[in-house]
Every structure is written in C-alpha cells, then in structure tokens.
C-alpha cells in the first residue's frame, strides 16, 4: 500500500525515517535492489534500448555494483536524472550511487559533500572541424568561429585556451548539443567544441563522419566517475573496489571468456584474491567471497565494457587514449588487491 498515490500522500508525515540511520550497504541488501542514478540519455554512456533495457558505459558500472552486492545484475532500479536534479537525488537518498558522466571537481567532492569513488572515463574538451578546412591543430584556428554551449565550463576553457595561445576566435553561442549539430553542419561555425566523447558521438551521427576530424588538442581535464554520499565509507568502498575490480581484471587478463576457468584457481595469487578463491577480501567489504566474479560476469572487465559500448568498433568509435591501462600508456591504475 505504501506505493499508492493516495496513501503515499497521507502517510508522508507518519512514516519514521528508520532507514536513514542504517548504512547504505545494509539498505541496499534489505531492499534487494540498487537505486542507481543515470543520465536521461547520452549516446554510449546510458540509454534505454528498444526493449526499454538500460545500456551503456555508465550503466555497466551500476550493473557491476548490483552484481557485486546482490549477486544479480538485474536488481537495479535506474533512476534517470538530469544535470540539474542529479546531486539532489543523491544527497536526499533517492539513489545510492550516481553513475552519470559527472566530472570530479574539488567543489563537488568537498563542498557538495560527495565522494567520488574513482574515474571510469577520462574525458577532456576537444575540437571538431570539417576536414576540408585543412586544419591539423587547434593552434591554427586563429579567427575561427566556434560553436559553444553557453553556461558550461567548456566556454571558460575555450576562452583560456585561445588567450594563452594568443589567437582570436568568434563564439557562436548555442544551447544544446542537438542545436550545435545543426549549426555546425549548416556551416554557421567552423569549429565545434565540447567534451571529446561528445564530439565523437556527435560525429557518429553525421551523414559522412569521415569528412570531419577531431583535433589532437585536449584543453581541459574532465575525469568522469561514479559518486556516493559523504560519510558512508563502507558503501563508498564497495563502489570503489567494484570499479577497481573491473580495471584490475583487465590488467590481470581476466575476461568474461576465461572467467569460469580462472575462478577454479590459478597460479597468480592476485587473481585468486580478486576472484575470492584465496583470502577474504569479499568478507572485508561485507560481501560474498565471489563478489568480483559476479561483477565481472555481467559485462566482462573494463576493456570489454569499453569496447562494447563506446569502443572503436561501435558507431561512437572512441579510442582508448587516456583510458588505456597504465601499462599501455593510459591513466587507468588500480591499487593492488591485497
């Protein structure tokens, strides 16, 4: 009855906030469902498909955490949030975890009282130009007209970049990505600038994507990661180490193909600790011993998730770049499972 509209309204005042006192991990286990905040739709990162099932790179994080905690990747309630409602939804307890291409910044971490549990995608602001313009570096863009979304950090980054390189530009302010796409294709601006992942997914929708180039300069740091509320470190640990497990699995060569084989025991003690055949890492987190196996069995390791949702074989076609393992020249690095 609690869900019905009428009694929901009537019982609001009466219900005690019994849940608020317990830890989030216990709440999730008691509810047997993870409430995970995602975006209302971003190509490759989170969107429901034709059957209404959520898919995407951020969604995979939600599913992995649900699998690690509850043993079942379908026990997730996806709560769509907009850029304006995401932080309130997390702060008010409506969601347990926010995996919504959110940039890790000082003020969000400290002032808004959230805990970023890691970085699942290193993004940065880039430039896209038509190839016929013959530009190969952003520093050659002197005097160019630039389509830019107003009221975002990209606007400030752009001004900084052009000023520090002592070149001029003319901004064409636009409101949304959809509008930018139309303006850019209509030739209202020479250059379109936003996050590199956004540029790639926008370019993927063009009639002829090969006629447009994304310039090599990345002029800002946009580390995107999942976050939880401040002050519940046990839950933060679960989310952080689930993400780390995905990265570590790639580093250790554990894939969805050889997962069952490796679960039966290997010669590598770190793999054994990760997969729970040795040690008691799961117990320390307050989870089952096979938590990481569950998390990995959803969509494989970080590399597999990347390749499936946004990698080079998908229409979005993002290269690993900064998101390669540290052993391959990227930034992905997980502390040891020990």
């Amino acid at each position: 009855m609690n869900n019905s509209v009428f009694f929901g309204a009537l019982t609001v005042a009466g219900l005690a906030a019994g849940a608020a006192a317990a830890g989030t991990l216990d709440d999730v286990k008691a509810r047997d469902k993870l409430n995970c905040g995602v975006t209302t739709g971003l190509v490759g990162f989170a969107a429901p498909n034709a059957n209404g099932e959520w898919e995407g790179f951020d969604v995979a994080v939600c599913r992995a955490v649900a699998a690690a905690v509850l043993g079942d990747s379908t026990k997730v309630e996806f709560v769509p949030t907009t850029g304006k409602t995401r932080f309130t939804a997390l702060a008010s307890g409506e969601i347990d975890l926010l995996a919504r291409n959110t940039t890790w910044t000082f003020s969000r971490d400290v002032d808004l009282k959230f805990e970023f549990v890691g970085v699942n995608y290193y993004d940065g602001q880039g430039f896209m130009v038509p190839k016929e313009l013959g530009v190969s570096s952003a520093k050659e863009l002197d005097g160019a007209t630039v389509c830019i979304q107003t009221g975002t950090t990209t606007e400030l980054n752009l001004a900084d970049f052009f000023r520090s390189n002592n070149i001029s530009y003319e901004p064409v302010p636009i409101e949304t990505n959809a509008e930018a796409q139309q303006q850019y294709l209509a030739g209202a601006c020479d250059v379109y600038t936003t996050d590199a992942s956004g540029l790639a997914s926008t370019r993927a929708t063009f009639d002829d994507p090969t006629a447009h180039a994304i310039l090599p300069e990345i002029i800002s740091k946009e580390p995107l990661g999942p976050l939880v509320r401040h002050g519940d470190n046990e839950w933060g640990d679960v989310a952080r180490w689930t993400l780390n497990a995905l990265i570590a699995a790639e580093e250790l060569g554990v894939t969805s193909a050889n997962l069952s084989e490796m679960t039966s025991g290997t010669n590598n003690p770190e793999i054994n600790r990760l997969l729970g055949t040795e040690g008691n890492l799961g117990e320390m987190l307050g989870l089952e011993a096979d938590w990481a196996v569950n998390a990995l069995s959803v969509g494989g390791n970080y590399g597999e998730i990347f390749a499936k949702n946004i990698g080079e074989d998908t229409p979005i076609g993002l290269a690993r770049g900064l998101n390669a393992l540290w052993t391959n020249g990227g930034l992905l690095y997980t502390p040891p499972f020990r």
């Binding site: 009855m1 609690n2 869900n3 019905s4 509209v5 009428f6 009694f7 929901g8 309204a9 009537l10 019982t11 609001v12 009466g14 219900l15 005690a16 906030a17 019994g18 849940a19 608020a20 975006t39 209302t40 739709g41 971003l42 190509v43 490759g44 989170a46 969107a47 429901p48 498909n49 034709a50 209404g52 709560v79 769509p80 949030t81 907009t82 304006k84 409602t85 309130t88 939804a89 702060a91 008010s92 307890g93 409506e94 959809a178 796409q181 139309q182 997914s201 993927a204 929708t205 063009f206 009639d207 998908t314 229409p315 979005i316």
Partner: protein, 432 residues
C-alpha cells in the same frame, strides 16, 4: 394607343430568346478566382507570391515525406536505403512508437490498459462536454477517475475502491449536514474521508498488490504521450473547480479568505512553472525521509494544478467583472442566498464569457506538460530528447521525431479549440 404601337414597331418577338450562359469571366471557378484572388493588381501580386511560397514549401517537404523510409532499424540503414536522396527516416517511429506513446518502461502486455482508460475517458467526458446527453451518464463520470487509476497503475483494486468510499462518505456527510451549516458539512466531510482512508489503509494488507488482477505499475514507469495526456486531463479537470473557488474567494467580502486567495494567485502567477516543478521534484525530497516520499506524479499534478488554477481564477474573475452590477442586485432582490445566486445567476453568465480564456489556459497547460522532461520524467518530449536521441541507432533524427510530437499535440489542441468554438455557438444567447 394600340394602333400606334402596332404601326410604329417593325418587329415583335413572339417567343422568348433562349437564355445565354453568363460570360465566362462571371461564372464558376473563373469568377471565384477573379473575385477572391485577382480582384486588383496588389491582390494578384500577393496571390502569385503566396502560390510561389506554397510551391517552395511543398516542393521541399513533399519529396522528403513521400520518400520516407519506414522499415529500417537504424539511421545509418536509412541513409544507405536513401542513398543520398532526400527523404525522411520514419523508421524511428515504426520502431519506437510504443516508447513515444507509453514510455519505455510501461509493460508491453499492459498497453491495452491505458488504451481502455482513454476510451472510457471519452465516455466519461461526454456528458460533461455535451450537456444534451442524458444526465445519468454523470454517474459514470464520477466513478471514472477511480477506474482509470486502477487501469493505469494496476495493483490491488482495494485502493481505488477505498478512495472512492472515502469520497462517497464525504459526499454523504456534506449532503446531510451541509444544508444546515456549510462549515460543519465541509469539515465533517473532510474528517469522514480521512477516517475512511486511514482505517481502510490499515485494513488493506501490505501484500494486496502482489497477486492483483492487474499488475502494479509504479509512477516512474509511466511515460510518453500517455503521461502528457494524463497530466493534462487531471490538471485541467482539477484546476477548473479550484480556479472558480479562487476567483470567487478573491471577490469575497471576508478579508481572510480574500487575502488568502489574492496571495495565492499573485504568488503562483509570479513564479515560472518550471520553478514549481523543480520544487516538486527536488526540494520536496529533502524534507521527506527517503522511504516515504510522495509519489512524483502526484507532486507534479499538485504543482501544475496550482499553477493553472491561478490563471483560470484570473480568467474567471474577468468574466465576473464583465457582468453588469444589476445581475448581482437582481439575484439579491429575488431573495437568493450567496450559493444560489452564484450557481443560478452569476456563474453561468460569467463562465460563458470566460470560455475562450479558459480554453486558452487549458491548451497552454496541456503543452506545458512537456516541461516535466526537465525533471527527468519521460513524457513525449522527454522520451525524444533522452532515450531515443541518445540511442546509437537513432542519434541525429530530429525532424521526424519532433514533427510526430507536433502532430500529436496539434490534433489534441485543435480538438479542444474546435470544441470551445462549438460551445460558444451553443451557448450564444445574445445576438439571435
């Protein structure tokens, strides 16, 4: 006289000449063209310019529509099929129509439920909209909200029954005591409804929804055009009585009531709807513990209703102000008390004057329901902007989707507008 006539006239026609057809320029299509399109030089120029404009418009849109592709499964396939020819990619509609209409989470096998609720809505609304129909049909209108709630949200049938019993108890109490004293009847009715709901709510078991005839669908799973229609219908029908009450309250002689109404109307009208929606979705969740928040749909309905009732109140106040003072005095001199005077003399005239304004607010309100997409509810526009444009298959299909949304909204809004014109003609009592 007759002699002279016969002598002076050389020839007298003895039969009527057959009628000649009128000159070609004074008949049929040509006459119509000459009179309406080419009556003088400036008009002719305007006609030619308009023809050219229509030609340009059609020659660019018709090939696009007629060349449309309906059967592919992604935008890229559309482009392959079209092979650089101009053409729309309507496949997005054929593949995602159910998401556009019902949202992406409403159970597929339950689509008949909102459809059936819509059909019943037409039946329930008919006696309200067309008062020539038998008045007994109003009984169904009274029950309809509970049937529709049960159909759309599903779950145990006890919930809508209980809600209905609560309202029925309130109505009985009001009928019994309201005649003697309005206040006793009014507050007694509220108390009776609350008692029924609280006692009944405690009696209905928690697990009643588990094996219900219709599976329960949480509000979050509603979406698409269905959500727009539900919000529009609910909010318009709730805000009309509320608006009348506010308009009358604002004209009241009792200072407390008057000032409450004035402050409410002025405050709500002074705040953008989107701000109220943010309050509904964001602020309220800070005040309530996580497990006991009010249903988001209900919060949004309350906010939109508040907003539109303030506007409707001002429209109706205009109607009240347009009545000559003599009408009020006539009612008083007949010995009618306040409710009678309002019900029998003032409101019928004031509401008739206000029809165009009320319809204007209703149409605006219906279109404003798309604003809920900014608080992450997946209404028609929310579905387009969020999930569908964010899918890898359909990223980049704008005209087809938004055109479809425009057509849906146009059909409904044009229907409302036509109905209001019919109503005005039907109620026209002056210039006979």
């Amino acid at each position: 006289m007759s002699d002279q006539t016969t002598n002076s006239v050389a020839y007298v026609a003895e039969t009527m000449l057959p009628e000649l057809p009128p000159p070609a320029r004074e008949t049929g299509v040509i006459k119509w063209l000459r009179q309406n399109l080419f009556s003088n030089i400036p008009n002719s120029i305007l006609t030619l310019v308009s023809l050219w404009a229509i030609y340009v418009l059609l020659s660019s849109t018709l090939p696009w529509i007629l060349n449309g592709v309906w059967t592919t499964s992604s935008l890229n396939e559309c482009r392959e099929v079209l092979d650089n020819k101009l053409g729309a990619c309507f496949s997005v509609l054929t593949e995602r129509w159910h998401q556009l209409l019902y949202g992406f989470k409403y159970p597929t096998d339950a689509y008949w439920r909102p459809n059936f609720a819509l059909v019943l809505l037409l039946v329930a609304a008919a006696p309200v909209l067309f008062f020539d129909l038998p008045r007994k049909m109003l009984a169904f209108t009274a029950v309809y909200p509970f049937i529709a709630f049960w159909l759309i949200w599903g779950g145990t049938i006890l919930t809508p029954i209980l809600a209905f019993v609560g309202f029925a108890a309130a109505a009985v109490i009001f009928q019994t005591y309201g005649k003697k004293s309005f206040a006793i009847g009014f507050f007694g009715a509220i108390a009776a409804a609350l008692v029924v709901w609280i006692v009944g709510g405690a009696l209905v078991p928690e697990s009643a929804s588990d094996n219900a005839l219709l599976s329960a669908v949480p509000s979050r799973d509603l979406g698409g055009f269905m959500l727009n229609l539900m919000l529009g219908v609910t909010c318009v029908s709730l805000s009309l009585p509320l608006g009348i009450a506010l308009a009358l309250g604002r004209q009241s002689d009792m200072p407390l009531i008057k000032w409450i109404c004035v402050v409410f109307i002025e405050f709500v009208r002074g705040v953008p709807l989107i701000t109220l929606l943010f309050v509904a979705s964001v602020m309220l969740s800070y005040f309530f513990p996580p497990e006991s928040t009010v249903d988001l749909f209900l919060r949004v309905v309350i906010m939109i209703t508040m907003f539109s009732s303030a506007y409707i109140a001002e429209v109706i106040r205009g109607g009240l102000a347009a009545l000559p003072k003599g009408q009020y005095e006539a009612a008083d001199s007949l010995g009618l008390d306040y409710p009678q005077a309002m019900r029998l003399i003032i409101l019928p005239q004031a509401l008739k004057i206000s029809i165009p304004g009320i319809v204007n607010v209703a149409v605006g309100l219906f279109k404003d329901t798309t604003l809920v997409s900014v608080i992450s509810m997946f209404d028609l526009v929310g579905m387009i902007r969020g999930p569908i444009l964010a899918s890898t298959e359909w990223n980049g299909v704008y005209w087809e989707l938004l055109g479809f949304a425009a057509v849906l909204f146009f059909v409904v809004c044009y229907g409302i507008s036509q109905y209001s014109q019919w109503l005005e003609r039907r109620l026209a009592t002056d210039h006979r």
